[in-house]
Symmetry: C2
């Protein structure tokens, strides 16, 4: 705001604040002004832009302003990090700032939280060229207003009766265009081979050529038959992404048919709709990350994907599909790990959500994922690795279970493949094991 003086009203010591009153937001930004002035401007635009009435002696900042808790200059450079020509300068400073943001300004509501953290205030702050929200921390009283995952990792494991291993999801492929009858048959084969939870692709929801109701009624008896034949619990994860006033009905359809779980592209429905569905849901909710990439994919702009993942968990997702390792997603390893931690780390009283890193996965991805993640609490979600397996989906699914058998016996996949033809064919088609 031109002409409004920037002063110490937008700075605070942690010790002077009640920790329960504030969220902590960490942004990285590039500025051309003095970093302190830029950080103060950021706080001002995000909170009390004009903090007194004309002619009144008052100051709303002590209770309502965002305030700088910590600020550091990470780098200075003659070249801007961003090709964002809003203003040019001779030198750019790359900074990291942690703000205390008083939640009395908006309350425990996701749309209003999003307005604050990724609204006009943060992303049109004067003097700031590029900005990315890299971390968010909530005080316990704020978080207590959210239910979070209904089942979470322990609940999902209990429902599927799998305690000892990662969960095997899978995306039925061809993802678009199959008749419901053919679709259900592919899912059935994958159950027989050992998949726990085949699922719809994120692009396949309730369509005219494959209505949700039709898929559900075809899948239901096959799921029961697969459970009988394998002696295992099975899910089909139905993609119920749709206009928000249809989500509950779709959820109830999946529940009525015993499909086990539903998936939503939560950023496209809005996370608030997920939170509303969570209140009455009886099935686990699985998140897909569509629309996260345009918000998060650049290193120096937007909102870190791990922040989006935390918000999905807060909204109530029990399992969260994420961009994973491997060439398909071109996502840095530390970003994948940060997303997995966003699912699993302590977060008030909220249950952990099951992380499901996805993208170009197959049986051979398993050893690397186990070692990189350092936990068995994750899901694998191949598409082509199961449904493009040269011997079909049953063999594709079997190759995953064989990979797990190999790992749990401390045998290399190549060695185990010698007398396990599904795994051997997978290695020939999709290998080498990395």
């Amino acid at each position: 705001m031109d002409g409004v003086p920037v002063d110490r009203g937008f700075f605070a010591d942690r010790g002077s604040l009640r920790a329960d009153d504030y969220l902590e937001l960490t942004y990285r930004f590039e500025c051309v002004d003095d970093p302190e002035a830029a950080a103060a401007h950021l706080c001002q635009e995000m909170s009390t832009a004009q903090w007194r009435r004309v002619g009144q002696d008052e100051d709303f900042r002590p209770r309502h302003a965002a305030r700088v808790l910590a600020l550091s200059v990470l780098d200075r450079s003659a070249r801007s990090l961003m090709a964002a020509p809003w203003f040019a300068a001779r030198e750019y400073a790359c900074c990291q700032v942690t703000l205390a943001y008083p939640h009395v300004n908006f309350g425990p509501r996701l749309p209003n939280l999003l307005t604050v953290i990724c609204g006009e205030g943060a992303f049109h702050a004067p003097g700031i060229n590029a900005i990315k929200l890299v971390d968010i921390e909530f005080p316990a009283p704020f978080l207590a207003a959210f239910q979070g995952p209904q089942f979470g990792v322990p609940g999902v494991r209990a429902l599927l009766q799998i305690q000892d291993r990662p969960l095997f999801f899978g995306v039925v492929k061809p993802n678009v265009g199959l008749r419901p009858e053919d679709f259900a048959e592919l899912a059935y084969q994958s159950w027989l081979g050992g998949l726990d939870a085949p699922k719809d692709d994120e692009m396949l929801a309730d369509t005219s050529y494959s209505p949700l109701a039709r898929r559900a009624e075809l899948l239901a008896p096959l799921l029961k038959r697969a459970e009988d034949r394998t002696g295992e619990r099975k899910w089909f994860v139905l993609n119920i992404t749709d206009e928000v006033d249809r989500l509950q009905d779709h959820h109830d359809l999946a529940s009525r048919h015993g499909l086990g779980a539903v998936m939503l592209n939560g950023h496209t429905t809005g996370l608030s709709a997920v939170r509303a569905l969570r209140r009455r849901a009886t099935l686990p909710l699985v998140a897909h990350f569509d629309m996260a990439a345009p918000l998060s994919r650049l290193p120096h702009f937007g909102i870190a994907s791990s922040v989006l993942t935390v918000l999905q968990r807060v909204a109530g997702f029990d399992a969260i599909i994420l961009p994973g390792f491997g060439r398909r997603m071109q996502t840095p390893e530390e970003e994948v790990l940060a997303n997995v931690q966003a699912c699993l780390r302590p977060l008030g009283a909220l249950r952990p959500a099951l992380p499901v890193p996805g993208g170009s996965d197959w049986a051979g991805s398993l050893p690397g994922m186990l070692s990189r993640l350092g936990t068995r609490d994750f899901g694998l979600v191949p598409g082509r690795g199961v449904f493009g397996h040269p011997d079909g989906p049953e063999a594709g699914a079997r190759s995953l279970r064989e990979a797990w058998e190999a790992v749990s016996r401390s045998v290399s996949l190549e060695e185990y493949a010698r007398d396990h033809p599904a795994l051997a064919a997978a290695i020939r088609a999709f290998g080498p094991v990395l």
Copy 2:
């Protein structure tokens, strides 16, 4: 998808397609491979990633694939447009591609549309470094499923009984922290001075220190009194942004109190929630653009703000607040104009939405906006320009009306200010007139 050959199945001539079956999506992207291969990959990832079952002779692409209608290389450069280090190369090609996307894949549903246009397919396509959706065109049968604005420009004008001039909105400031009693008094003064529709700031919704119900009940009698004293129709635009299951109640509260209109930060609630509210709304819906900036603000990545504006209109907003001219928003003039066109241009049978370009506006912004926009069908939405006016909000609002009087008499603002003290004080405080 590694190993899947790219062939002409992802290309088509316009003449070979039924125009009613496809949306047209125009992306700009930077690639390091052959542009045709990159464009085909993009289509593949956005639609039929695997287009046949294993062992079946079939091809789902003619009905379900996204296909390249036009592709051009805009530039080749040794320097990447983006600091996105997913892969480095010796040369980058900056391309523009128009795709035909079959809507049979998802149907007339906003979340599923968003999944397609800004999902994983588009934003994680192999070989593509940076990508931005710059335009979207809908066929009439697809658009016919949407109601769009209930009132639009003609309806808003009829309700406010203003046919001849731009509409004067205004953001009550201080935006955060005011007691409801003080807040209502400021709104009242702005009505008396000549504002048509003071509004809540996007960060002020239903808060513990200023509950929506309390603001509404305090504003209602003052609004009636202001209408009586001025002989004009008045609105207060209540910010009902909240969890989606509270929107209808908040709307009904505003309606019951005769406040005239409600505002939502639609990208944060989800546009689908806006569409659902629109079905039963009796008041005009005003959009705020929060969360648009992290999606749209970079020149070479994300989703063009004009596309987001079209989607807001499709969802049913009657008036759309947009980043405007002036230093505050640092938005290129052509982007502001593209957004205004997204509100006003023909779009099937949907009504035009009133564009409200905002940011650092005051009385002196009016002549420039009229000449640049070439229409009176817009709203002005000052904050400080009314509520930071040195003589208070009544004088601030009056300065806007005086500026309009000057313009409509073809007198310069400076000259008109000689015997109009509110305008004169505004020029001193916020000028010069640009």
